[in-house]
């Protein structure tokens, strides 16, 4: 496994203008962490969950508004609040 890559996955082939993208990476001491990231809506309700990639990255296709990202990895749970906008991708680097 190679080291952590900054930012979210490559955007090639993604319709960025019409999507509301939240993406990023989960790292511990600069190394990617294998685990899960869940997306919670403004009321705290589960919306989606993805496993992190081998390089610790994740991506969601959301809607404009306020969201919470919750990283679930062995031994830790970390929440991060984000505001997403259509046509932009919101990058979130989560350290655990």
């Amino acid at each position: 496994m190679c080291g952590a890559k900054a930012g979210g996955p490559e955007l090639a082939g993604v319709d960025v203008a019409n999507e509301t993208i939240i993406q990023g990476s989960v790292t511990r001491d600069g190394e990617p962490v294998n685990g899960y990231v869940r997306l919670l809506d403004a009321s705290g309700e589960f919306t989606a969950e993805v496993p992190t990639s081998a390089t610790g990255q994740f991506r969601f296709f959301a809607a404009p508004g306020t969201w919470t990202l919750r990283a679930l990895v062995p031994g830790a749970t970390v929440d991060r609040a984000v505001v997403a906008q259509q046509g932009q991708f919101t990058e979130v680097a989560i350290t655990v």
Binding site: N18, E19, E45, F46, V50, F61, A63
Partner: protein
Amino acid sequence: MSRSDVLVSADWVQDHLDDPKVVVVEVDEDTSAYDKNHIRNAVRIDWKKDLQDPVRRDFVDQAGFEALLSAKGIANDDTVVLYGGNNNWFASYAFWYFKLYGHGDVKLLDGGRKKWELDSRELVDGAKVPDRAATQYKAQAQDTSIRAFRDDVVAAIGNKNLVDVRSPDEFSGRLLAPAHLPQEQSQRPGHVPTAKNIPWSKNANDDGTFKSDDELRALYEAENVDLGKDTIAYCRIGERSALTWFVLHQLLGQTNVKNYDGSWTEYGSLVGVPIELGSN
């Protein structure tokens, strides 16, 4: 039917990995997850290639299911333990599908792949595939008492419990798909009128394990679901609602619960049927 008949812990699975009459089966939304790694001695069922008719939008027929299980080395009297990613979405779908074709002993691994990973339990390299001898599996005719079709859903509006298990944003029409998937879709957003939005995730803890029977019963009572009435659960393509079906039918023992596998991708594309927008 009790919880222990249909749901087993990671410890239980660990203790039965070498039991020849227990077949552990991985079913994932990401059908390549098994190729990375999997629980030792687990076989894979691919929900797209193995469980769907290659031409029509429907399941493989009875003979197709028999051929699939025979080839996988699963016998009629084997205990099948299903697990997968996404909090067991597709493992629940496969559970329902195995019941549809009458398999006797099927169980879910509580928490699925995520719980197993968060426990840091052993996963073997994807290339390590168990060698199971082929069987002569015999399936039963589909038990349609657990499967709803589009006309059942239209007829249920205002009469039966309709439980929409998608996220609140999909229910209200803000999103057309779960947020880990691109949103461009052809069908209309919204939900079936009179459906209650009880997201599948309310059934589960963060680690993917199911909540207790008491917590689950309280959840549906608090949402004013009359458990004495017939219920149809749906989502977008029928996998998350299979999880809710599992909760209502298998854990809580409700007798008349159907999963609508056509779900929103079918209903939201029908001409002329009623649709509602907005939250409950």
